[in-house]
């Protein structure tokens, strides 16, 4: 059983963080809320997402899995304006998700979840941590997109740094400790990442929202932030690029 009522923005937020990586996702429904974990086909990035039942206006659910075509869900959610209330109900008899937006009823066929593997979160040792305002990070990434296809993230004891180098141009964003919401690092850590992936990962966060970045040396980066008015949480992992010699 699954029946819920929620602001359209929450569902849109879930789509925003998941759809850059996969077309289809397995939503794990439980009495506590909704979670999902997905890895992109190239195994470069992973998203792990949780939205608590508190984020919903109404929420009733047993343990179950829903296989959802994200493109389809996204086009359905385009029918809803920001702030619109959306009701979701699983129809066991037809294996459909009944989505109600205002007077509109949309029954969406679900995908068999049997073929969707459960991904394991790799065990990572990421000693450096920086908490940054989303707007600062977005600005740095947008600037980097114009000059290169990869960027370097560095965290040391004093600062967080984003650096991108193209053939002729470079971008540098250095934020000393006092401009960060939080910084803790036992030393200097640096890894290189694809800008394409990285920019998709941070796209859903905006403004003053804090983004937590965990970094190691030539290790994946872990990016954490809240969604759904802090009643939901997103963790992204992105595999590094190897430094060119």
């Amino acid at each position: 059983m699954f029946s819920a009522k929620v602001k359209s923005d929450v569902i849109k937020g879930i789509i925003d963080v998941t759809s850059p990586l996969v077309n289809e996702a397995k939503f794990n429904i439980s009495p506590k809320g909704i979670s999902l974990r997905a890895v992109d086909p190239a195994h470069v990035a992973m998203v792990d997402l949780e939205v608590k039942n508190k984020a919903f206006e109404e929420y009733k659910a047993d343990e179950m899995e829903l296989g959802i075509d994200l493109d389809k869900l996204s086009s359905i959610m385009k029918l809803a304006s920001a702030g619109d209330m959306v009701s979701l109900e699983y129809d066991e008899d037809t294996n459909r998700l009944i989505i109600k937006i205002g007077n509109l009823v949309r029954r969406m066929g679900l995908i068999d979840t049997a073929g969707m593997p459960d991904s394991k979160m790799p065990n990572l040792d990421l000693p450096a941590k920086a908490v940054i305002k989303a707007s600062e990070l977005t600005q740095g990434v947008r600037a980097s997109e114009a000059v290169s296809d990869h960027l370097a993230l560095t965290i040391d004891k004093e600062s967080f740094e984003l650096y991108a180098e193209g053939d002729t141009d470079t971008v540098n964003l250095r934020l000393p400790k006092d401009l960060l919401l939080e910084l803790s690092s036992p030393g200097k850590y640096k890894s290189l990442f694809s800008i394409d992936y990285f920019s998709n990962m941070i796209k859903p966060v905006k403004g003053d929202d804090p983004v937590t970045i965990l970094l190691g040396n030539d290790n994946p980066v872990r990016v954490d932030f809240d969604i759904a008015d802090k009643k939901g949480h997103v963790t992204y992992l992105l595999a590094p690029r190897i430094e060119s010699e």
Binding site: N23, V39, P41, A42, V44, D69, P122, S194, I242, S244
Partner: protein, 253 residues
């Protein structure tokens, strides 16, 4: 290595080409800019009257003749074409031919402006992300996106129940039928592929024909039906991830 000669006479041109242009070991690319006349015999016949053009013989024997405008070459010959130069009626004459199919192209030059010979090195491959390019072209130009060792031998192959998008052989010489869909694959695409595979089995009298359905998106229901029929699938657009040996994956950790 790069050498050039400006406004050579026919005999100077021939001497220059014989001295620097190599079509065997350590091959060179040859570019001649000048006025030329082109005679072609082969699948058709053509005569292209005098005009100023760029003639290029690539290091694999490919010949490309460009006029001063337009994207496409006005004449071309494939890789492996053999080319000889001599002097005929006081003009530099270039004869090229290959046997499968039998084709001959003769180019006479007058008023040569420049000849360049160079030995070029380029081991990079063109990378296309495939999101907006035609999927069929993508597969033809790079069958490796479907699988290692696949060779495409025919586009639009006619069989009893219709036209097969792509037909080829895998690395074990097993015939492969490929059906390409531009959007989401449907159940009817599966039936179509199944008929084509059966047609091919009958036509070439072998029980072993593979069928692959390629689409940007294949719903699990369709995947299941495909595997029930012993057919395969590739999600082409999403799967065309640029080979990037510097990008690690999460599996590495």
């Amino acid at each position: 290595m790069i050498k050039h000669v400006l406004t050579p006479t026919a005999s100077e041109a021939l001497k220059f080409i014989e001295k620097y242009h190599r079509s065997t070991a350590d091959k060179t690319i040859l570019i001649i800019i000048g006025e030329c006349l082109i005679n072609y015999h082969g699948r058709a016949r053509s005569l292209l009257d005098w005009g100023e053009r760029i003639v290029m013989i690539k290091q694999d024997g490919t010949i490309i003749v460009h006029q001063p405008v337009m994207r496409e070459p006005v004449n071309w010959q494939p890789a492996g074409t053999i080319t000889r130069f001599d002097i005929k009626n006081h003009l530099l004459n270039m004869k090229s031919y290959h046997t499968h199919p039998p084709e001959k192209m003769n180019i006479s030059f007058r008023d040569i402006k420049i000849i360049v010979v160079a030995s070029l090195h380029d081991h990079a491959q063109l990378l296309i992300s495939g999101m907006e390019t035609d999927i069929v072209n993508e597969i033809v130009s790079n069958p490796g996106v479907i699988e290692e060792g696949l060779r495409i031998s025919k586009r639009e192959k006619h069989v009893k129940s219709g036209i097969i998008d792509l037909f080829g052989y895998d690395k074990n010489h097993v015939p492969v039928v490929i059906e390409v869909k531009r959007s989401q694959a449907t159940i009817s695409a599966v039936q179509q592929l199944r008929m084509y595979v059966n047609d091919m089995k009958r036509d070439i009298e072998t029980a072993n024909v593979r069928g692959i359905l390629c689409a940007p998106k294949i719903p699990d229901m369709v995947k299941k039906l495909l595997s029930d029929y012993g057919l395969e699938w590739r999600e082409v657009e999403r799967r065309i991830v640029l080979p990037d040996d510097k990008q690690k994956t999460l599996k590495d950790f």
